[in-house]
């Protein structure tokens, strides 16, 4: 018995040494040639997504899995663990490179911390597409596909103006501004987009920001948390709107919009025109009930389909279409981007906007 085990142990080591010699040749990387000439139609396509904590990512993962399979590719869709997203994602991308993925689609947990892995992927001949969130400080990112977030802001600003005009024929209107968490690069993009529409109206006196808080630092909502937006709105109502009415509130997303509405209701005031974003089920209900004024529909299905279309084009060896080659500077290069137009949703067009959405469609009936 003893002899047998010892021999086995030694044999195992020897076997490893031998098998190594034979695999040596195929260990060197593929090189860049494959990127230009397309790749096999059944190639491995890696998709690295953040943790499963958000409904949106879970939906996207399922859509990628089905969509890639349907297109004939081998899909490898990975989520990072909830508490170790950055490291998991780094390791998963490395593993995809090792497995020879031809395209790697990354929904970054932290867009600033993937430079090394994106470089490794690029050096191995894989094409890297940033999905929804831009990857920063790397010259090796090939494409970016996302909804146009500046446009989201513009639409929110326009919706606020439309809602106010419908509510009261002439100004001046009292409004308050809310923006997202300051550690999220998108927060400023939303806010600047909205202000590009609102600022001229503030300047000509049509809009009056009652509290005078128009700076993004003053309007920020730490961590995108509802409780922070609610307590800021409580404070504003007390300090500024004792005897005035607030006509409109710019809110960057649905969660904060509902927090603002909750605060106004608790203060016993009329609900102002409140914007939103994300098409959360609760907010769609609120819009249909006539409370929240608008939200933004960024259909994950369309975004995933766009990313998979890019993979199909790359497979043939062609260059995928992009519609923005100057806005997305990630610190090392201006990343060619394909931006999808977001859709503004109010009570008027909700039925039409969510017609293809099995979950939201019934709410609009």
């Amino acid at each position: 018995m003893r002899k047998l085990l010892t021999t086995t142990a030694i044999a195992a080591v020897a076997l490893m040494a031998l098998s190594g010699c034979s695999t040596r040749t195929d260990s060197s990387g593929g090189g860049d040639a494959s990127a230009a000439a397309g790749f096999a139609a059944d190639s491995l396509i890696g998709v690295a997504l953040p943790s499963k904590t958000s409904e949106n990512w879970v939906l996207a993962g399922g859509l990628f899995e089905d969509g890639l399979k349907e297109a004939g590719f081998k899909g490898d869709v990975q989520y990072a663990g909830a508490s170790t997203t950055v490291k998991d994602q780094q390791d998963q991308i490395s593993a995809m490179v090792t497995k020879g993925a031809k395209v790697i689609i990354i929904g970054a947990a932290d867009g600033g911390q993937l430079g090394t892995q994106v470089k490794a992927a690029h050096d191995a001949g894989a094409i890297v597409i940033a999905y929804d969130r831009l990857i920063l400080n790397t010259a090796d990112l090939d494409y970016y596909v996302a909804y146009d977030n500046f446009n989201v802001g513009e639409l929110q600003g326009q919706a606020l103006l439309d809602g106010l005009a419908a509510k009261k024929p002439a100004g001046p209107y009292n409004i308050e501004l809310f923006s997202g968490s300051s550690d999220d690069a998108n927060s400023a993009v939303f806010f600047n987009g909205a202000m590009s529409v609102l600022q001229p109206k503030i300047d000509d006196g049509t809009l009056v920001v009652g509290s005078g808080q128009t700076d993004i630092k003053q309007t920020a909502t730490a961590g995108w948390k509802a409780e922070n937006a609610q307590s800021r709105m409580d404070a504003l109502l007390t300090s500024t709107y004792g005897d005035k009415t607030v006509d409109g509130v710019l809110s960057p997303n649905d969660t904060l919009a509902r927090a603002v509405i909750t605060s106004v209701k608790a203060a016993g005031k009329d609900i102002p025109v409140v914007t939103g974003q994300d098409s959360e089920a609760e907010s769609v209900k609120s819009i249909m009930a006539g409370e929240q004024y608008s939200t933004i529909n960024k259909d994950t299905r369309v975004l995933v389909a766009q990313a998979i279309d890019m993979v199909k084009v790359l497979q043939k060896g062609d260059t995928p279409e992009v519609n923005d080659t100057k806005s997305y500077d990630n610190g090392k290069k201006v990343v060619p981007a394909f931006l999808l137009p977001p859709v503004i949703v109010t009570k008027d067009n909700a039925g039409e906007a969510y017609a293809n959405d099995p979950k939201l469609s019934p709410l609009t009936k």
């Binding site: 018995m1 003893r2 002899k3 085990l5 010892t6 021999t7 142990a9 030694i10 195992a12 080591v13 020897a14 076997l15 490893m16 040494a17 098998s19 190594g20 010699c21 695999t23 040596r24 195929d26 260990s27 060197s28 990387g29 943790s51 499963k52 490898d76 990975q78 989520y79 990072a80 663990g81 508490s83 170790t84 997203t85 950055v86 490291k87 780094q90 390791d91 490395s94 593993a95 490179v97 090792t98 497995k99 947990a109 932290d110 867009g111 600033g112 911390q113 993937l114 430079g115 090394t116 470089k119 490794a120 050096d123 191995a124 920063l136 400080n137 790397t138 300051s182 550690d183 610190g331």
Partner: protein, 442 residues
């Protein structure tokens, strides 16, 4: 039957890769498991596990966890625990990244600054543990909160990028120099040096054994051992040197290697190292024997924080930025590596090399599962179970007085370890552990 003793001697000699001590069998078992896991994943992934690209990834992905494990095993040997390593790493990382961004500090100085931050934090924690007497669990739990918060205060919960020069320690490789050979020349040289060192060390060990008057294992056992080790070194060298152009043995791996050699020497061969074991094994006895236990505890805690700072900087360099999530749950990975590597919760037992092998078991497992496309959720479950089973089997076997599953496989060879007689005296069959009741019953 006469040939029977030799392979056993070979196994025993292989076990001498580790230090001495009663956890020897356990550690040899872990090495055996590591080889088994590598072979398993090599088959399951169709050879991807032992491919150049993957081995290089493996080293750069886990070097900082293994660096933490080095410090952690010393903390655990001394009978403490350190929960703050992840937060300390994140804190040092953000300080270094901010210093380079805002003050334009050159990166070599920034690394020194990072290490200095580690010294300060370590002195703070060591002071509370050693001189005030607050249990390390509490001190480092507090540290975990304090330095995580500190990271977010300094970085404003933002991600701070670092300059390219700095990234060398986390994502750099041995440079390409000399004539074109199809391999990375410096990595080949490194491999050659290690191979020669293996041969010299075995030769020296035999000489010392002779001088001390003990009977060395038969010559062919030594030769076999050296041949096997050199084969592994050559094999690894060829893989590391033959990676994609521009990649080779990672710089972080070299840092790790130097630290392993240094700390293995410290713990095994220096007075301070023996004092750490003494304090962890029996504090009172150690103090009565003149060991300054406070000083030992202080230095051990301080050392851990310095290594944590280094690990944090390597991670930041690899991620090309310092972020608010850095270091989350690293303490658990490091602690798991140490216990899988054969350390005892009660202190006094454990080795640096054992912890490295324990960490590698987790690393290969993680990496192999990722190559197979297993999701992060399942990977966590599997890693949890492996930790529980590895330590559970060990604890159970201690209470039962019989070896673990792995120990069972290698049990016969263990017998040559405990009796002081030369191996030839040990019976070649039957149950040599008859003194143990469980063996009689089984």
């Amino acid at each position: 039957m006469s040939a029977d003793t030799s392979p056993r001697g070979g196994l025993r000699d292989l076990k001498k890769i580790f230090g001495g001590g009663s956890s020897n069998v356990r550690q040899f078992g872990i090495l055996f498991s590591l080889i088994a896991i590598i072979v398993l994943f090599q088959v399951l992934t169709n050879g991807l596990t032992l491919s150049s690209g993957n081995l290089i990834n493996l080293v750069s992905q886990y070097s900082y966890i293994l660096i933490l494990a080095i410090g952690m095993v010393m903390v655990i040997i001394a009978g403490h625990i350190d929960l703050s390593v992840g937060s300390v790493a994140a804190f040092a990382g953000i300080v270094v990244a901010t210093a380079m961004q805002d003050w334009n500090l050159p990166w070599p100085l920034a690394i020194l600054l990072g290490l200095f931050v580690g010294v300060l934090i370590g002195a703070w924690q060591g002071f509370w543990v050693a001189y005030i007497g607050v249990p390390a669990f509490i001190v480092t739990l507090a540290g975990m909160l304090i330095f995580r918060g500190g990271n977010q205060v300094i970085g404003n919960a933002n991600t701070v990028p670092v300059p390219d020069g700095f990234t060398v320690i986390g994502s750099g490789y041995l440079p390409e120099v000399g004539p074109f050979t199809g391999y990375n020349n410096l990595t080949l040289l490194l491999g050659l040096v290690i191979a020669v060192a293996v041969i010299l060390m075995e030769w020296r060990a035999r000489r010392v054994q002779k001088i001390m008057g003990s009977t060395p294992a038969p010559l062919w056992v030594s030769v076999l051992k050296v041949v096997l080790l050199v084969a592994v070194v050559i094999y690894a060298t060829v893989l590391f040197a033959g990676g994609r152009e521009g990649t080779s043995f990672p710089v972080s791996g070299i840092i790790l290697g130097v630290l392993v050699l240094f700390y293995a020497f410290i713990t095994r061969n220096t007075i301070f190292g023996r004092h750490v074991y003494a304090v962890g094994g029996n504090k009172l006895a150690a103090e009565l024997s003149g060991v300054k236990s406070r000083r030992v505890n202080f230095l051990v805690m301080m050392n851990m924080s310095i290594l944590a700072s280094l690990a944090g900087m390597i991670f930041v360099a690899r991620s090309v930025a310092s972020g608010p999530q850095d270091g989350l749950s690293w303490e658990l990975d490091a602690i798991a590596a140490v216990f899988i590597g054969g350390a005892a919760v009660s202190g006094g037992i454990g080795t640096v090399t054992g912890s490295i092998v324990g960490g590698l078991v987790m690393a290969v497992l993680n990496n192999g599962l990722q190559l197979l496309g297993v999701g992060a959720d399942l990977v966590q479950i599997i890693k949890g179970l492996v930790l529980l089973i590895a330590v559970g089997v060990d604890v159970w076997n201690k209470s039962q007085g019989r070896p673990s599953l792995i120990g069972f496989l290698t049990r016969k060879s263990k017998t040559s370890e405990f009796p002081p007689e030369p191996p030839a005296v040990v019976p070649t069959s039957g149950t040599p552990e008859t003194a143990r009741p469980s063996d009689v019953s089984s």
